[in-house]
Amino acid sequence: MRARVEVGSTLWYLLRDRVALFSLAFLILVALAAVFAPLLTPYAAQGMGDPDLAAKFRSPSIEHPFGTDGLGRDQVARLMFGARRSLSMGVFVVVAAIAIGAPLGTIAGYLGGWVDEVLMRITDIFLAFPPLLLAIAIAAALGASYINALAAIAATWWPWYARLARSQTLSLRERAYIEAARSIGVRDRVIIMRHIFPNIMTPIVVQGTLDVGTAILVAAGLSFIGLGTQAPYADWGVMISDGRLFFLSGRWWLSTFPGLAIFFTAMAFNFLGDGVRVAADPRLRRIQS
């Protein structure tokens, strides 16, 4: 019964999980490549979108390990610069969705009554639409850009966190220590901030980590149909989209490498999220010595 969650021990268990550790290392590597892209590639200008028509459609070689695209841009540089948008999109979507959903769900669950009814019916309205279609509709209505795609995806995502936060709050609200705080006369606002929020963050962070990969996929989907990042900049979705016409004509490298980047990144976030879930829950920990 003694719920004990310590950040320190969670981290300790996480770092003992080889799959999670490997995924984390991979993601850090991708993030570093994105941040330091200009220093890591001689083709920084191409990564930012400048064409180099003399070098177009080169197949993978020592010079261009992942080949070049139709405008002669080095694919490694494009991938590294694209990672900035794809990765940040995934992370920001989840952060924005948590920032909107978690407080609403917590308030709904804690106060109950009509507040709960109103907030939960609003989330139901959002959940009634297929998420990808809703995101496409919002992105199309706002106009195609990176920031609008982010807003569109976050708008379809927050209701899930609202529900998660609400269900966690409902079970917490009945705990004796919340009742004790109320009997002391602690204000509702303080009870939510000090007693409820810290205790519901673990499942939310776990879900968030698992969701980053999916958010990257959805963001790539929006970019693929032209509703995300606009030329001359690229993200991984744009790169797959640009390359798709040439795939069957033998220029396989154009879509394959960004596809693999999305695949491995999304998978790494899933493994990491799973690792965090196990590490944060003492009941799931297995002693591996």
Partner: protein
Amino acid sequence: MTEPLLRVQGLSMTFSRKSGFFSRVGEELRALNDLSFTINAGETLGIVGESGCGKSTLARCLLRLLTPTAGQIYFAGQDLLALPDETMRRMRQRMQIVLQNPFSSLSPRLNGFQLIAEPLRTHTTMSRKEMMDEVAALLAEVGLPSEFMSRHPHQLSGGQAQRIALARALALNPDFVILDEPTSALDVSVQAQIINLLIRLQKQRALTYLFITHDLGVIQHIGDRIAVMYLGKIVEETSSERIFANPQHPYTQALLSSTPLPDPSRSRQRIILPGTVPSAVDPPSGCSFHPRCAHVMDQCRTLYPAARQTSVGHHVSCHLYENGA
């Protein structure tokens, strides 16, 4: 006669549960049924009863953690149920509760200092230094060294945790403390220590206690008066000496006979009650105890017996005592 610290009149709490979205009929659970009692300043009223008889609901209603469906609660002359929320919030300084299981009533993430300082942070403008001194003094008062400021609940034994909960309840120097089974989650040896601590604190701080328990043995040491509850009603109420010397209600007699005696050479005739506690959703007609009572009479099945004074300060709700017996 001076006004008692707490006066409860006709307190009822009915939980209703709708059986479905479209159905109008719902089940009603009468957790408290027309309770009236008083507690004078400085005394201890023990509330005794089996689990499910409404003891804890009573505690929550008195603190307005639940809103009763009927009745009045006068605390220090003020009608608590009529107070605006903010006035009630400030009133909570004067009435505190200690719950049964300290491990669930203490937030697992906070340490001893944060736990005990929470009421101080809520109701006073003390500086951190002042709070540290205050918390250290409170810890000393409940018999813990100041190292416990940095301990988290999972690092404490049951008795230590309950002492922290007690220190938290005392932090604002309340007049009235509700003790909701404060010892039932503890080992027997620790129970006695906590009871003695409670008695000492009551003397030092002139506290008024409402002590809720299912264990008559515990209440014997601390209660001035005892009220016995059965299915949301008080069936007998009198001084603690008299309830042990002369229990009158058949339910009280059965309850007393089930309390183990500390002396193994003595034994007492146990009264075994047939059946189980009836559901409060569908209570028996008349006297709610009649299906289990050995002395059941015809009128018990139809009419709830009014509380009657059988001697000074001894009230019983039982048809057996109706003719002045």
